[in-house]
């Protein structure tokens, strides 16, 4: 799976969970500051991402995922 494909998958999840416009989702964007995803929605995104990409993202890892790019890198390394 390419980074672009993972980003597109995350965009789908972000739209469904937090109502984020998929066009706004890019690797440089911060979940909280740019996409307005709050801490609880972030948990929902992570849970949905685990299912979608077949990876494990433990609680203590969630806080390290500041940007979409961080999440893409983590998922890319795990998948």
């Amino acid at each position: 799976m390419t980074r672009d494909e993972i980003t597109a998958g995350l965009a789908e999840i972000l739209e469904e969970v937090a109502g984020v416009n998929p066009d706004d989702v890019a690797e440089g964007k911060s979940f909280t500051d740019d996409l307005d995803v709050d801490s609880l929605s972030m948990v929902e995104v992570v849970v949905a991402a685990e299912e979608k990409f077949g990876v494990k993202i433990p609680d203590n890892e969630v806080q390290n995922l500041k940007t979409v790019g961080d999440a893409v890198s983590y998922i890319e390394a795990q998948a």
Binding site: D38, S39, L40, M42, V43, E44, V46, V47, D59, V62, Q63
Partner: protein, 314 residues
Amino acid sequence: MTGSRILALGHYQPSRIVTNDDLAQIVETNDEWIRDRVGIASRRIAGDETVADMAAAAADKALANSGLTAADIDLVVVATCTSIDRSPNVACRVAAKLGITAPGAFDLNTACSGFAYALGTVDHAIRAGASRNAIVIGAEKLSDFTDWTDRSTCIIFADGAGAAVVTATAEGEPAGVGPVVWGSVPEKGDAVRIEGWRPYVKQEGQTVFRWATTALAPLALQACERAGVAPSELAAFVPHQANTRIIDGIAKRLGIPNAIIAKDLIESGNTSAASVPLALSKLVERREVPSGAPVLLFGFGGGLTYAGQVVRCP
């Protein structure tokens, strides 16, 4: 074997209402933020009332609603994690205030899941013949354990009590309290804590949210299955009143299209072990659930612990 059923309910809340705007005066927060993240609009905060005072007031109403008298009660169980006094326990204080003589009397602490644990324990006591008529109470004064300078927690917690009179069913009468499904996740114990001397409630919000929205629905469904009630038959779902987003997250996974979903936290805040009986008592008082209809109770919280069962509405 004789089972048990809830005969009547009662609740007590302190008169003082604290709104989100009130909290915005003391910490950096605002009404919209609290409603969006937690779902609470206002909460009740006790003045001089102790946990035992609130527990007794709720129990007194439940007893009055039941048609029984203090002389009929042989067991008092109080679920609480916020009683300041170590002894006598809250159950004995309640018995003394209500004039209940010589009951079995004990407190039980499983934090926010306490009422469902206590109800399960009382059901077992009745089935074992150790009790005929019991009072089960959830009562908490979280305000004594709240750091009023911490905006992440002080917006959540509140005070109150709810009580149920539980009685043995007659021979051949179907049980009104279904089998309890209970358990814990001890390795996640640090997620909700009230530790040490003069402690404050602390919690890891994301950890609790993730656990609650992913792990609990299958357990709640087990409680339905063990009671022989299909989720679509449920007239109401009364989970611990922690957060509307948790409640909605669990409800979505249950498939309960015909159930009223209790959201008493909007006006009551999170009252830990009191939240389930408080919300249930209000549903019954407002006649929103028909007598005999199945209601799923599910408590969860510190420990981490959880417990739930299907009950027939009194």
